[in-house]
Symmetry: D2
Subunit: 183 residues, 4 copies
């Protein structure tokens, strides 16, 4: 049974709203156990437990906030070289369109790659002109149906990769998706 | 009299619409001469002529399209080490929100930095939740007033830096702006 | 039987030397079939065939050369949404230390992520102060034993992930490595 | 009289060694006043005082360490929108070749761009295969003559841009350099 961790840091509540939806999306895949945890309640054991992680944070200066960096800098000793090959993805809420949310997602993926994870974005569109090629990069909170669907899709895709690669369930591969990937 | 070049590559017409607005914004600054040119009509002499450049392109795979890269790869011989210190910025139109436009802007800035340019983004918001911290990163074409204002602001800011730093006109510094930078 | 593609573009021969070593490293993993192909001889069928790809190119302006971009821009139509979930990694040779090879690796990973691939770097050190956290980023050609080992390790790690995740062979996971990962 | 700030964070001492050399390089340009300060002793007033800043830090997970991010996240309130147009550059020491130092430099430049600064890299080579296109990205400490020269050149180039653009001294432009830029 595949394990998915949704770890998030939130200040205004925007990223938390995203995280709840990402976790909900992950739970749509049969046989996946999901943990939804704020940064402050996460331990290195949570990361070790999971097969896939979605890491979310607000965009601060085009990067993750210092508290997120502090957490991951802090587990270098116990986790380095020991969590390679897990699957990872990113989501971020910025102050506005063009405010650096895509770059913040890339900084999250950079952190995860540095620990040896396999990281991904999603080719799908959830609505016209609405996608998540490097993770979910939102201006503000998820308000519209499409913005919520971005978060759900990210979590679902992460769980699909875990189900396909870790649990070996062929039906979970997105090529077998029962939903529209390119509407 | 400061020189601003707006160089753009467009396929669907979206980036061209942005470029026209960027050039219009640059022309709002007194004493600035503006050239608006599609990539195919640009020569290395245009780049040498200018004091500041705004480079725009559609987002393809989170980066500039190959034709833009071909053009800049092609001027390495004549331009390397000879255009250092000019001022540069970026704009890009992607297929959708989260489609890589910010990353494409960063790839443009990477190219310009490699040639020794001083590159920038803009702190201003032109409307609530609408900014251009790493250049203008749009899903699709500039449709709304705010999206058009992003393009105008980028061109204007480029021209302001050229006017301030190259022409030495203190009044052109954004700290003296007569418009609202943080509405 | 897992399939690994080593696709490379080379101009001076430096990247080709790296590619040969990457392919050799991949072939060290039992049960992996390796294809080593220059860009010009690759077709979209090669990418579809593989389970994992190592993509290598010289560093030009901190990014991939335009020909590499042209190739990948050119397969968007046939490949988009159809190669998601394959495993990818990067290698690049720059003109010098600090010349942008790490950034070029990131531009390769950006391309691959845009197609939905799972991309990775390697935590291991192959010698003191010699690693490949975002792929192999070399100044010039692989000259020293350590620089050659970087290329071998990248190919080997790619093949290990393919063997572990696609072929389901637990013994191939790096945690079971018979070689020193952190010398 | 132009002002240059060299702000650095160091843990092992490697980045401090780099910072001392960067400051020394800046001081080679006549008429430039240089402040060399560890992060902990810097205040927002130092940033406001300077016309150009070189920001250095060790590479942690391909990004700046959390303490550096904490410092810059902490001055958003007093500095946002008020330090636009200053000139900035980056230097970083990583655990090894391929260890993310170039990416860490880009994360520094991302922070500075977010505050509206004009950021740059250097086209020059200080020795064969030794350059600083996105700032100085070193594996370990500056040991060789060439590695030390990278640090000196970064500081010097920053001071040259400040002298040329802020103080208006034409002779300081690198095109008038009395040293070899492409040996």
């Amino acid at each position: 049974m595949g394990h998915v961790l949704v770890q998030y840091h939130s200040e205004s509540g925007h990223t938390q709203e995203m995280a709840v939806l990402v976790a909900e999306g992950a739970a749509q895949v049969p046989g996946i156990e999901v943990r939804l945890k704020p940064l402050d309640e996460c331990t290195v054991a949570d990361v070790q437990w999971c097969d896939g992680i979605a890491l979310g944070a607000p965009t601060h200066l085009g990067l993750v906030p210092w508290r997120v960096k502090q957490w991951w800098d802090g587990i270098i000793e116990p986790a380095w070289g020991k969590i390679d090959g897990k699957i990872g993805c990113a989501f971020s809420s910025a102050g506005g369109l063009g405010g650096g949310a895509e770059l913040a997602c890339m900084s999250i993926l950079t952190i995860l790659m540095n620990f040896g994870l396999l990281v991904f974005g999603v080719t799908d569109y959830v609505a016209p002109r609405t996608t998540l090629h490097y993770g979910v990069a939102l201006p503000g909170r998820p308000k519209t149906r499409a913005e919520k669907d971005l978060c759900l899709r990210l979590g679902r895709r992460l769980a699909e990769w875990v189900s396909f690669y870790v649990d070996g369930i062929e039906a979970s591969h997105p090529r077998n998706a029962g939903y529209a990937r390119f509407p």
